[in-house]
Amino acid sequence: MIHSLFLINSSGDIFLEKHWKSVVSRSVCDYFFEAQERATEAENVPPVIPTPHHYLLSVYRHKIFFVAVIQTEVPPLFVIEFLHRVVDTFQDYFGVCSEPVIKDNVVVVYEVLEEMLDNGFPLATESNILKELIKPPTILRTVVNTITGSTNVGDQLPTGQLSVVPWRRTGVKYTNNEAYFDVIEEIDAIIDKSGSTITAEIQGVIDACVKLTGMPDLTLSFMNPRLLDDVSFHPCVRFKRWESERILSFIPPDGNFRLLSYHMLSWDVGKINPQKLPSLKGTMSLQAGASKPDENPTINLQFKIQQLAISGLKVNRLDMYGEKYKPFKGIKYMTKAGKFQVRT
């Protein structure tokens, strides 16, 4: 399992190390530094690096390398997924994930990492649970802690961890009960010189912000669920129900989470007059004095379209069971460019 973790900044300093088993000397990172040197750019450092006695698996996010050390055969995706989870957790706890922030909160960081793995086995990786165990720092809490001498470590058993809904804590209370869903679609495309589309696909997600009291059981249905055939669900979604009825049925985690992501290679664009194909043209002009780009630069496009899911996906309705109150519900659509590349 995961032996150790080193955090390394872009200038090559190890600024945090955590060992879940015996201590691995930080000299093991020398192999990483070698690879880093060879790679010229940080993005190109290979994610799996073998050394004589260990393997180094790394991810590069927010200008920090998260380098995990493993000693036995461990699924590399498991390690890499976990590292991304660490990054997400830090971001969730501290708002941003950066070297100064991590250094500022080193004790919390250390406590969180300790809770995330036990002997290299994942222990608590849901931020709902983690926050129950170790309270994220807020200015108010820091002040309160200083005055009253209380701590940011919870003294309760993380109740959710043992229920059938390990992603939700119990005893949630809100005065305003609300559930918001954002359908966000990104278009990845490659357009060639002549303007024809080489590839185009949609990466869609439904992100949720659910603040509901108690144990609400939600169902979300779509006008056109057949659009979704390549989907990945949050563990809370009941897969059987989706298979049989094409309805999303779930007890949501508390707070922000990604309900599902989907992927489409082709989609319905409605009726288009073949005589008058819609087209979008643009010109690129360089600022005076800017250096000339390479011969045929590839242009990355960015755009956003509010209140539209380009695939045509539409939510039909959201129902809540199991609780008596009436929540506020909201749904937002957005389309934006993902990796939208135009070759010239």
Partner: protein
């Protein structure tokens, strides 16, 4: 208030200050102090001096403080074992706490204290926690067993924790099940032979139920565990697949890939005619595509696996070519992998698109990527015949760009296209010739020269072109020199009248002015051919060339099948079986795909995996079967370029040019170096044989009783073949270590230095465990004896015959190659004795078609003597019995790669009338050999000796042996070794 204050540099007396604060009466101050200590610890400062003071803070009700102290303990307990004892009481007490969180915390922490002395005290609390009423405590305790096992495996076994852990697989709580599986899997990895995860339909059912309810990480462990299961028939396989498919929609990519592994493996058992088979194929594509929209690091691992999947089952992704198109801001490691998969998926249907893309990539900025893209175009031409023309014209377009490295790469691949499709595209030669001057890389120059030579009759100024290269002949690389020599000879044979001068020039350059033996030799051969028989020369030099093969980079099928079983693991990233790189690789058990069970299977599926024993147990001896030329021929051209860059222990990988210098440093870094002095003295007084056949020469040579039989040295490399270096040698096994005893004789007139040795990949992974140490230069007529320790952790490739070993030896003069056969008994390990029950079960378990029978003629030994002789070579007698006057020895031996061979040896006093004994007449598991009498009576004449049945050691020592034939029956899961084991038997018994 932030924690950054903890990072202020160590001031003088900081430790002293902290000490005072830790002992403060004020709770708040204490806690602040512990926080500071932890912060210092986190950034790598040594605060171990504060151990007693921190431990004193442990007895507290404040949970945060307790946790912080625990953190500290885990870090420093090892360095302060005596102090750590102080903490034991608190742990024991905390394990009884009414709050399950505290119980769990205590059991979790105490497992992390890696101090032997303490662990004993922790057994009782751990036992309680494993049976705790709260599942949270149980699941934490399950992991604690794995921790404890890491510290003291014996203790864990003695205390029966493994059984408790196995029971937890049936726990009612899915999280507990998942952790128990994870803990058992980890323990099993250090004990590959133990049968910890014994799966049966009931436990599988429990795992499948837990799969739906446990956390994402638990799902990974359970899926990986399921993948080791061997369903009994296609129905069971299908029902497992049905319950695993929903995991393909999981957001966690590791869960998805583990599920893909289970499906790919069990699919093997399903008939292709089943509707379900088709459904499953369709279901596999979308999740694989989705993995490619994840972060680049995940994409990379996914792509390496997809590379395997498209080779095994191209139909899954054949319509998804577009998702592998490269985005210009993909990291380079993703780009290269995508490119590789694009070529594998290229077909007539999509080739136009692929080519357009590849052409686009060839104009990018990253040189490595561009080169690979150009090569890819060439590979497409060779793979998809219909596209060849389009590929050639694309390459021509690229040559027009005049970008130097693009042009060179294009010329290299065009050469291959010419070879694949002769007499089709030669019209482009003119264009190629225009770029002659810009070529500065040896490979491109050599390719161009080859083209000019091959098509000399169509190129008007071929002689001028080739002459232009001749000017700087000695500055060229060997590759170019050799090619130039051949090309000019070809030219001469085609246009003899105009080029006589040129050919003489090149022949004299090659033979008289060059130090390179290869070049000289080739020069002489041509010279003599041309001078003695020009017609023959024409036939030789201008012979029809064999066509080049379509795909040279496919993974060999048996290796591919094995790798499919390792989807999602490091092995799948490196495309090598774990035995090739996991530390201490011997322990690794080979996996293989299950056989297809359905009867409707059509005959056209040769990819069906080996039949026989269940996966996970079957020690598939020889996973790889590569081309026999192997790596040896690449020795002087640098390491082979296939596969990802691997920098692990070079000896194991065999991918590094050991002979190319830097030898010592490379080997010095690995962990199995045996110092040369420790090697056993060679030769043990055996006479030196002459010729390979002496290796098994049964009349000469004296065996030794301490250690395995050592054959006399035989000449492996005669001096005339190696420019005066004569090598003879033999193999020995002494106390568990194998060595190659060599005798090097210098029969040349010059001093030899700089010896080095390398083996080609071979069936059992034999590799030098230390460099070849020849301390002083070897003067003419001097002989030196060296014992070279060998390891069996090198990379493995099946050889023909199995015990063939190809060796390269280098000295200051040249590199020489020879091959030799090693006797199999050097691979018999010391712990090869099976217990009786196991023997019995295994014998039954191995299918009868794996049984091989042999006769050992004229072997005057009684059972006792044979047994002890064999034992000194690590063939162990498990049991002995007498059946109708014949002694039967049941024996076992184990090879270094973990393969067991079971033997039944029948010894009977000579009885001329006795013929083959039909084996089914033998009592149940006693198959085997019958003593066939005949042969000469020697010694004391025959006698019938009777022994009580089974296992008695009373030997008929008074009844002494006669000349007799022994009959040997061998059973092994890898039947191909039988022949060699038999030879070993014969060698040992007769010497």
């Amino acid at each position: 208030m932030t924690d950054s204050k903890y990072f202020t540099t160590t001031k003088k007396g900081e430790i002293f200050e902290l000490k005072a604060e830790l002992n403060s009466d004020k709770k708040e101050k204490k806690k602040e102090a512990v926080k500071k200590v932890i912060a210092s610890m986190t950034v790598g400062k040594d605060v171990s001096a504060l151990f007693p003071d921190v431990v004193n803070c442990m007895q507290t009700d404040n949970l945060e403080l307790k946790k912080l102290v625990y953190l500290y303990l885990m870090n420093y307990a090892k360095s302060q074992p005596d102090m750590a004892i102080m903490a034991v009481n608190t742990f024991v007490k905390d394990c009884e706490d009414p709050n399950p969180l505290i119980r769990a915390l205590a059991v979790r922490t105490m497992g992390c204290i890696r101090v032997d002395k303490i662990t004993e005290y922790l057994c009782e609390p751990l036992r309680k926690c494993l049976k705790d009423e709260d599942p949270y405590v149980r699941k934490t305790a399950a992991v604690c067993v794995a921790k404890l096992h890491d510290i003291n495996a014996q203790l864990v076994e003695d205390q029966g924790f493994l059984d408790t852990l196995k029971d937890l697989i049936s726990d009612s709580n899915p999280m507990v099940v998942a952790n128990a599986v994870a803990a058992l899997s980890e323990i099993a990895e250090s004990h590959p032979s133990s049968n910890l995860l014994d799966l049966n339909p009931q436990s599988i059912n429990k795992l499948l139920t837990a799969l739906n309810e446990c956390t994402e990480w638990g799902q990974i462990f359970i899926l990986d565990c399921l993948a080791n299961y061997m369903p009994k028939d296609d129905r069971e396989a299908q029902s497992i697949c049905e319950r695993v498919t929903p995991r393909l929609s999981h957001a966690n990519s590791a869960v998805v890939l583990s599920a893909v592994k289970v499906l790919m493996k069990f699919m093997e058992m399903l008939s292709k005619d089943l509707d379900y088979y088709g459904t499953l194929l369709k279901k596999l594509a979308p999740p694989l595509v989705t993995l490619l929209s994840a972060e680049p690091e995940l994409q990379y691992v996914a792509l390496r696996n997809i590379n395997l999947i498209v080779q095994k089952r191209p139909e899954i992704l054949k319509h998804e070519m577009k998702v592998f198109f490269v985005k210009y801001n993909d990291p380079i490691y993703v780009k290269l992998e995508k490119l590789d998969i694009m070529i594998r998926l290229a077909s007539q249907a999509n080739i136009a698109q692929v080519l357009a893309e590849l052409k686009e990539y060839a104009t990018e900025v990253d040189v490595d990527f561009v080169r690979k893209a150009v090569r890819a175009i060439g590979r497409c031409a060779i793979k998809v015949e219909q596209s060849a023309e389009r590929c050639v014209s694309t390459l021509l377009d690229l040559i027009q760009t005049k970008v130097n490295y693009v042009v060179q790469e294009a010329i290299v691949v065009i050469k291959d296209i010419f070879r694949k499709y002769p007499n089709k595209y030669e019209s482009v030669i003119a264009t190629l010739c225009e770029n002659l001057d810009s070529l500065d890389e040896p490979e491109a120059r050599a390719a161009m020269i080859w083209i000019v030579g091959e098509y000399a009759e169509r190129i008007d100024n071929a002689d001028e072109l080739l002459e232009s290269f001749l000017e700087g002949f000695h500055d060229e690389s060997t590759q170019v020199q050799l090619q130039l020599l051949t090309a000019i000879v070809k030219l001469f044979l085609k246009k003899p009248t105009e080029t006589q001068e040129l050919v003489q020039q090149v022949l004299s350059l090659a033979t008289q002015d060059s130090d390179n033996p290869d070049l000289r030799d080739r020069g002489y051969i041509y010279w003599r051919l041309l001078s003695t028989d020009p017609v023959a020369a024409k036939e030789v030099v201008l012979a029809e060339k064999p066509l080049i093969s379509e795909e040279t980079d496919l993974i060999e099928p048996t290796l591919l099948d094995e790798l499919i079983c390792y989807i999602g693991t490091l092995a799948s990233v490196y495309h090598k079986p774990p035995s090739a790189f996991v530390e201490g690789g011997r322990g690794v058990v080979h996996k293989s795909l299950p056989p297809r069970t359905a009867s409707s299977e059509s005959a056209e599926s040769p990819e069906t995996a080996p039949t026989g024993a269940p996966p996970g147990e079957q020690p598939d001896v020889i996973p790889a079967q590569g081309d026999l030329l192997g790596d040896l021929l690449n020795l002087d051209l640098g390491p082979p370029v296939s596969g990802p860059p691997l920098a692990t222990s070079s000896v194991q990988m065999g991918a590094v040019d050991l002979l190319g210098g830097g030898l010592d440093s490379l080997i010095g870094g690995t962990n199995f170096v045996a110092p040369p002095t420790a090697a056993v003295p060679a030769n043990l007084g055996a006479p030196i044989g002459s010729g390979l056949s002496d290796l098994f020469d049964l009349t000469s040579g004296v065996g030794t009783l301490s250690g395995s039989y050592v054959a006399p040295k035989a000449v492996w490399l005669p001096a005339m073949k190696a420019k005066g270096l004569e090598i003879s040698g033999t193999f020995t096994r002494q106390v568990g270590s194998i060595s190659m005893d060599l005798q090097l004789t210098n029969k040349a007139l010059q001093v030899m230095t700089d010896f080095a040795i390398q083996f080609n990949r071979n069936s059992f992974g034999l590799a030098p465990a230390a460099p070849l140490q020849v301390h002083a230069p070897l003067s003419p007529n001097q002989t030196v004896e060296i014992s070279l320790p060998l390891s069996t952790v090198g990379s493995v490739m099946k050889m023909e015959p199995l015990n063939n070993l190809q060796v390269a030896v280098k000295n200051n003069i040249d590199v020489f190659y020879f091959s030799t056969l090693y006797p199999l008994h050097i691979l018999f390990v010391e712990d090869g004795k099976m217990d009786r029950q196991m023997f019995l079960a295994t014998w039954k378990d191995i299918p009868n078609e794996n049984e091989a029978q042999f006769q050992i003629r004229d072997c005057p030994l009684n059972a006792e003597a044979a047994s002890s002789k064999l034992q000194s070579s690590n063939i162990f007698t498990v049991a002995k019995r007498n059946v109708e006057g014949q002694d039967m020895l049941y024996q076992s031996l184990k090879l270094t790669n973990g393969i067991w061979v079971l033997a039944e040896l029948r010894i009977q006093p000579g009885n001329p009338s006795c013929t083959a004994w039909p084996s089914r007449h033998c009592p149940s598991w006693v198959l085997l050999a019958v003593l066939v009498g005949g042969g000469l009576w020697r010694g004391f004449g025959g006698g019938n000796f009777r022994l009580p049945v089974f296992g008695c050691c009373m030997s008929p020592s008074l009844l002494v042996p006669v000349v007799q034939d022994l009959e040997l029956s061998l059973k092994c899961r890898a039947p191909e070794v039988s022949q060699h084991v038999y030879q070993a038997y014969e060698t040992i018994l007769k010497n």
